[in-house]
Symmetry: C2
Subunit: 378 residues, 2 copies
């Protein structure tokens, strides 16, 4: 195997596949990046067996030569060393050549590295995925769906299924749901292509976070293929595989209240900042609890009190308050996470009493919903 490549393209692809490589693996070959060279170009693969990422660098693009392939072949190189080396090479091009015993020469300018490679035959094969049932949506929309839901997954392994995001496809609609059983985030969007049947799978939150990091903010379509135990995201020159979580995701639809006793419409930013300030003196508390009261005259009071430290009270003029008077306590963190995830300048909060979950939605958009359980303090 021997090729010469533009260094910036190699650095970019190495950084992409590095997102899947962990040093904490018990499988030595997975500490490496696999490089496959054909006359078409170079394919890099990184994997931690949960996530696998493949990045392709074409030999030619828009009439420009990116890679000059001299001999085809495969090699696995230690990911940590290889990524640091390519980042620090002195020139704009790099020559990589595999010699006997997987010894690999990396040349750039007058710098020459000789890295001990690993046997590419030992590298696990990526799942072969039938693309019978793929659907598409704009990449930036997928990133938004992930951003608006993934923060609500559980970080505890007591119910492993809740560490993932439930992805449902039905009637040309994609719905993402995440919950840690104290709060729930849900977002629905249209998909671009017809799909046969319905799907409901659970993708690890960690996988979606990593995916989100390497996807560009573009409205180009990304393809999603779901199989029994894998999901594949296909973007330009990039394949992202993740295993699915096993088990049934709980039915969350019955958790969402359909009626409400108090409705508050308020500017997202004003409420977010007031809760942020109130939470400053609630830090020592379990769950970082703040209180919210409605007053006559369309005023909301946000407060917290930690006797050892002090207390804080702030009033906000709401856009509208309808229904019963309300006194409720909740986790400042959960409500701030929810408010940050929502789009739009105004939100509507629907309460059904101090001890019942409440729903936060953008004012004129029912495809996005955040549900939060209050905390009992009164």
């Amino acid at each position: 195997m021997k090729f010469i490549i533009q260094r910036d393209r190699l650095v970019h692809s190495v950084q992409e596949v590095m997102k899947a490589v962990t040093s904490r693996t018990t499988i030595p070959i997975l500490t490496g990046i696999k490089i496959n060279t054909t006359t078409e170009g170079i394919t890099l693969t990184g994997s931690d067996s949960d996530i696998s990422i493949q990045s392709f660098i074409p030999a030619e693009e828009d009439g420009n030569e990116i890679v000059e392939v001299q001999t085809s072949g495969d090699i696995v190189l230690n990911a940590r060393f290889f990524s640091e080396i390519v980042k620090k090479l002195p020139m704009d091009t790099v020559e990589i050549e595999v010699q006997t015993n997987f010894q690999t020469i990396i040349r750039s300018g007058k710098a020459e590295f000789n890295l001990n490679g690993l046997d590419p035959e030992e590298y696990p094969h990526l799942p072969i995925i039938e693309e019978a049932n793929l659907f598409k949506l704009p990449t930036d929309l997928l990133k938004t769906l992930i951003r608006q839901t993934v923060f609500a997954v559980s970080t505890s392994e007591t119910r492993p299924i809740l560490t993932g995001v439930n992805l449902k496809v039905e009637n040309d609609e994609l719905t993402c749901i995440a919950t840690d059983s104290h709060r729930l985030a849900m977002r629905t969007a249209n998909i671009e292509s017809k799909i046969n049947g319905t799907y409901s799978v659970v993708i690890p939150g960690k996988s979606l976070n990593e995916l989100s990091k390497i996807l560009d903010d573009t409205n180009e379509l990304i393809e999603i293929v779901i199989t029994e135990n894998q999901v594949l995201f296909k973007a330009k020159n990039l394949l992202f595989f993740s295993r699915l979580l096993e088990g049934n995701y709980p039915d969350t639809s019955r958790l969402i209240p359909t009626d409400s006793k108090t409705d508050v419409i308020v500017k997202t930013k004003e409420l977010l900042q007031a809760i942020d300030r109130a939470s400053l003196l609630a830090k020592e508390n379990r769950n970082n609890v703040v209180k919210l009261l409605t007053h006559d005259g369309g005023v909301i009071e946000v407060s917290s009190n930690t006797p050892e430290v002090g207390k804080v009270v702030e009033e906000i003029v709401a856009e509208a308050i309808e229904g019963e008077e309300l006194k409720i306590s909740f986790s400042a963190k959960f409500v701030m996470d929810a408010l940050k995830a929502l789009e739009g300048t105004d939100i509507k909060i629907s309460f059904t009493g101090a001890m019942r979950p409440f729903v936060i939605c953008p004012l004129h958009d029912d495809r996005m919903l955040q549900l939060i359980l209050p905390v009992r303090t009164y």
Copy 2:
């Protein structure tokens, strides 16, 4: 005590004095920031008993009112809570009012905090320093002196005196020296004002790092006052006190070789980058050791070799090589630290053999010197 202040000025001063406050103190009052209010303005103080920082906010500046003092007085407020609160207040002005039992109201817009204060009588008094013998130098020059030496202090407490920078004043010259006994950094500069007698004190490296962070990059003069066990740095509206380390700093002058057997002149950046690359494959080694060889034809070879990982070799064309052929090994980290600290595009390295310390200087400047002990590998 009651005053109204411009929030950005308060935030800035709180951040300055926070540099001296640590949450790990065993003295509860030192977890607080002391606020002293007079008709002249507000003085904030933070201290961890090694370092004390005082920041003054004048009531009026250039004809603009910064603080409206309504009642004078003192209070101590929890530094962590107070700094977070002032950062997040909603309006451009803040009202602070101390009530009975040190209860302190912080008001901004519709947000009102009620913070439990501490008794200001319990706050330790700052040292009273006689300003008989002060000297001055430009602030940015002081910052450069610190940057070029402080990295070389020892991080080990086996010889506590070496965790500080030796500051010597003699003949209107200031010299800073730091060594961890494997390397030494030295820098001399002229001071702006005559001083009686000579001084040699040792300032903790940590103090100088914190000082450097809060000083502006300005050529305004900073005043330095040295006493028996304290040093005081006086900048505009800012006092920075540090205790001195006790004990005698070792005489380092005899460590610096006066002759040399091999002199190499090379571009700083080229050598730095080549050593950086060579060190990539030396990471697993003790001390991160790389080798340097001189070749005929004015060429330097930088290399490293870790059999389990691989090896790297790079050649650099030197500006000049004079004297005996050389083969030497050294800590890549120490030489990179030294090269980063030096100014100028070209440096001269003077070697006196593979087992003797070598000296790195800017090409035409003998007021700046880095000395490094080699590592025995050949």
